[in-house]
């Protein structure tokens, strides 16, 4: 975002009078000082106000806080992984192809930014909560959907593997690669059915048991994934577009398979954009409060994530402990900003931030 240092000194007619310059610079420092620097310093001072021992104890000694940290470190990677897979495949489809509805698709990616986090959480409660659309089913025999979910994910991975390993040159295809695509889809459908039936026959999943999504970890993952959904795709699309498909086409013409092209050409080219998207997504996911608040039911030691733990400690007037947890998240924010400003040198100008 920063402009390069000017090679020629700015011309006089564009200079503001010195007093205007000083006033505005002073104002900028004052505003950012009061709005941003003072609060950040206050977090650390508040956390360490009773000494290092208390700080350490309130992070490690409190089992509920410890659990909150573990839970955040469980939920965030899952949501992040899902959004990275989505982001990469959406960016590939959008930046490399023209298809009807492409503009609409790009606009829809931004949708979660427009939805208030609380409303996002509410949506999942409406679907999976006790009174929700699937509530009754999940409560009586929720695990019955697991065979389908597992089979779907496995078949999807299989399909991706098949089509990306397949030689791109039709004449080089031998053996299993020789069949037209519909055979692969048919095989996938068959595999799906077999996997589902096998899991049901072997009773892999408990029967007649309540599958908790709301007020449990799956709900936290869903809410976090929803809120951080756009980050990776949004950062990757401009990077992929600016690089263009030439090197990928060259790799293909030299006989690379889809996977080889992706892994050896696309990923190294877009890695900074990918890292950039991931760290932004990660920062937001770790700190997400509203959506998670609604779906978690805030049960200490069970469904409290770090931001929820901050709130609970604040409600209990345990300010030093609350600030101690907050200091960890503030450190994360500072690291994110440092990495971000380093990465911006490697990237084309990215788009404006979104709420």
């Amino acid at each position: 975002m920063t402009s390069e240092p000017r090679t020629t000194p700015p011309r006089r007619s564009r200079d503001d009078p010195a007093w205007v310059r000083f006033t505005l610079i002073f104002l900028a420092f004052a505003v950012l000082g009061v709005l941003i620097v003072v609060p950040v310093v206050n977090v650390f001072v508040g956390a360490l106000s009773e000494g290092l021992a208390v700080y350490w104890h309130s992070l490690v000694g409190d089992p509920d806080t410890r659990h909150a940290i573990t839970l955040t470190l469980t939920v965030v990677p899952i949501a992040l992984a899902a959004n990275v897979v989505f982001g990469v495949s959406a960016a590939w489809a959008i930046s490399r192809f023209r298809f009807p509805g492409r503009t609409l698709f790009i606009a829809l990616i931004d949708l979660p930014f427009a939805v208030s986090p609380v409303v996002a959480g509410l949506m999942f409660v409406l679907i999976f909560g006790l009174q929700g659309y699937f509530g009754k089913f999940l409560r009586s025999d929720g695990y019955a959907i697991m065979p389908y979910v597992v089979a779907f994910v496995l078949v999807l991975i299989g399909l991706f593997a098949y089509f990306t390993m397949r030689p791109t040159n039709p004449r080089a295809r031998t053996g299993v690669w020789r069949h037209p695509p519909w055979v692969a889809f048919l095989a996938a459908a068959g595999l799906f059915a077999v996997l589902v039936v096998a899991q049901q026959a072997l009773h892999v999943w408990p029967q007649g048991k309540n599958l908790k999504i709301i007020f449990a970890t799956p709900g936290l993952v869903l809410a976090t994934a929803f809120v951080t959904f756009p980050f990776v795709a949004r950062e990757l699309i401009p990077v992929m577009e600016s690089i263009g498909p030439d090197e990928e086409l060259a790799a293909l013409s030299l006989g690379a398979s889809g996977w080889q092209m992706f892994w050896h050409v696309t990923v190294p080219n877009v890695k900074w954009g990918l890292v950039y998207g991931i760290i932004l997504c990660n920062a937001r996911a770790m700190g997400e409060f509203g959506a998670v608040y609604v779906v978690s039911g805030h049960i200490a030691g069970l469904t409290d994530t770090m931001p929820l733990r901050i709130e609970k400690l604040f409600q209990e007037y345990n300010l030093p402990a609350s600030f101690a947890v907050a200091s960890l998240l503030t450190l994360l924010a500072i690291v994110t900003l440092v990495v971000k400003s380093r990465l911006e040198r490697h990237l084309p100008t990215s788009n404006a931030p979104r709420p």
Binding site: A28, V31, F97, P112, V119
Partner: protein, 274 residues
Amino acid sequence: MASVSRGVLPGLSLTLGLSVFYLGALVLFPIAACFFKAGTLSWDEFAAAVWTERARAAYALTFGASFIAAFVNLFIGGIIAWVLVRYTFPGRRLLDSLVDLPLALPTAVAGLVYASLYVKTGWLGRFLVPLGFEGAYTRSAVVLVLVFVGLPFVVRTVQPVLENLDAETEEASASLGGTRWQTFRHVILPTLYPALTTGFALSFARAIGEYGSVVFVSGNMPYKTEIAPILIVARLEEFAYAEATAIAVVLLVASLSMLVLINLLERRSRRHDV
């Protein structure tokens, strides 16, 4: 950015299929469920849920505070963008990265620290409370945190436009005898209007959905310092799902219209500055 014909690069159907499925399942289906649930209410029930006195007070505070905060951001964000682009001074890079902090700092942390800064014993409250500015557990507190969360949006939309501003029109204005203020007012400012409007809209859109920071600083008193997302949570905690959904739909419609508006604004300003 060459457009590529279908046959050459692999993976369109798989990647598009997967991403559309994921978008549908994670985003579109829940939003549809929310509207569908609200649709099960009769019109009278819906009106009764969204138009109570308490809800009206919450909307007034949500939209009012968001508007004031976005308006404040327009000025301070504009000044910060101007300073960052036009002047060189020690600490400029630092100032530039600080602007992004509200995007990276969890809202709960912002709420916690703002709540303790502006109380009577806080670092800033001990000077401001005697002066009559109560920056915690009041409506001003809500505006204050919304200014914090919305600040980067104005700066980051105005900054690139300022950087790409054409120097010659400014010089022409100066050589024709315009004062610096006249040049700013009549030459520079009009070219910034689209970016300023977009920044304002982004900041406003972010503010109307904000929950995490406000819940700490506002005190959440019904009719006084309760914003609409807090009211939704309050209704949920009473297990009044239908009412919560009705208010959520109002909020959702407002923020979706903001999204459409922002996209239109961005498209227009892009057409103008190329």
